[in-house]
Amino acid sequence: MNLALLEPSTASFLKVASLAGTYNYALYVVLMMIGFYGVIAKKNLIKQALGLGLFSTGIFLFYISMGVVEGGTAPVWWTTDEAHLLKAAGPYDNPLTHVLILTAIVVSVSTLAVAMALIVNIQRAYGTIEEDEIRAIEDAEHPGEGVI
């Protein structure tokens, strides 16, 4: 599908949007900040962990956006020439950011796993996973030390 197939109004809107140039980078900030808000504002520990996940996914989106080349295709080189040799054809999106983000996704799921292990343990030790309830328990038990 190309620009001509769209409704005229949509087409002009898209043109304006693409003129902005760096719009996609601004959008990732919105997604990232929704997660960041969850981490700061929510009192439930699982909600905080989910917020962390959204936060890091926003950063991944930024990296992947960085690697996009206009008119590019997936960086998997399948074209063959007459002699049946593999060769590159046309612009490809940058594989470096994909590699970095593969690593970062793995890191983020590992962090989530450790966080969940801690949360299950906290549930067993305190009987709750709400930050303010735990704070109340701790304040009663060790007044003045301020753990959380």
């Binding site: 760096t22 996609n24 997936a74 590159a88």
Partner: protein, 234 residues
């Protein structure tokens, strides 16, 4: 680009709505499920941006393993969060300030999809264009080890920064007669695997990937340390 842009916008908008849902919904099980949906949407967005490997991984991890983890945790804890005030103003302020600062930083970036951005003309492309040989044991860098081939073929004689280079290489690694012709002891490998993501991941940045494996292993050990029930036998 345009249809791509439209789909991209729709998916990003959906993702934002789902993300707000993850944060605001009271039932933790619903939040978990919305989190899975968010991951699938992200996988679609990345598929749309041609990051196929990343999309694959996000689908497997975000919608698969993370959901297993979260549901497993919910089996131990309660399913609902406490009622909290509608908007946490200090948090909102922090988030808006941080976000605006981040957007402020994007202003001087090269345009989205600009093929002449440094990241597309920089070091990786020289690698993928096989302009970089390996370093030998004396620390001497044999740049452009395919120079012998460059003399043989006019196609290779191209400006330093074009990406991707017009080049061809044997599908079959073994038994290629050319290998001996220019074989340097520390030569670049003859042609990458078609999936350049894998060749970057396992070769050029193989060392990072080793630590990625170690990170996963660490997470597994942390789970064992924290959650495994004591063995009954003395």
């Amino acid at each position: 680009m345009s249809s791509f842009l439209l789909i991209d916008m729709i998916l990003l908008g959906l993702a934002a709505v789902v993300a707000i849902g993850v944060i605001s919904v009271r039932s933790l099980l619903s939040a978990t499920m919305l989190g899975g949906i968010y991951s699938l949407l992200m996988a679609l967005i990345w598929q749309n941006m041609n990051a196929v490997d990343v999309a694959f991984t996000e689908a497997a991890v975000g919608a698969g393993i993370s959901t297993v983890l979260l549901v497993g945790t919910l089996l131990h804890t309660r399913r609902e969060t406490n009622q909290s005030p509608a908007i946490h103003w200090p948090a909102l302020l922090t988030v808006v300030l941080t976000g605006s600062f981040l957007i402020y930083g994007t202003v001087d970036m090269p345009d989205y999809g600009d093929a002449s951005a440094p990241i597309h003309t920089g070091r990786v492309q020289q690698l993928l264009g096989q302009r970089v040989g390996k370093v030998d044991n004396e620390g001497v860098h044999h740049a452009w080890t395919y120079s012998t081939m460059a003399e043989q073929s006019v196609e290779r004689d191209e400006p330093e920064r074009s990406f991707p280079p017009e080049r061809s290489h044997g599908e079959d690694h073994g038994g290629d007669a050319e290998a001996g012709a220019h074989g340097h002891p520390n030569d670049d490998f003859k042609g990458h695997s078609p999936n350049t993501v894998t060749s970057l991941l396992a070769a050029y940045r193989g060392y990072d990937t080793m630590y990625e494996t170690a990170v996963i292993f660490t997470a597994g050990m942390a789970m064992v340390l924290l959650l495994r029930r004591r063995e009954e036998r003395a």
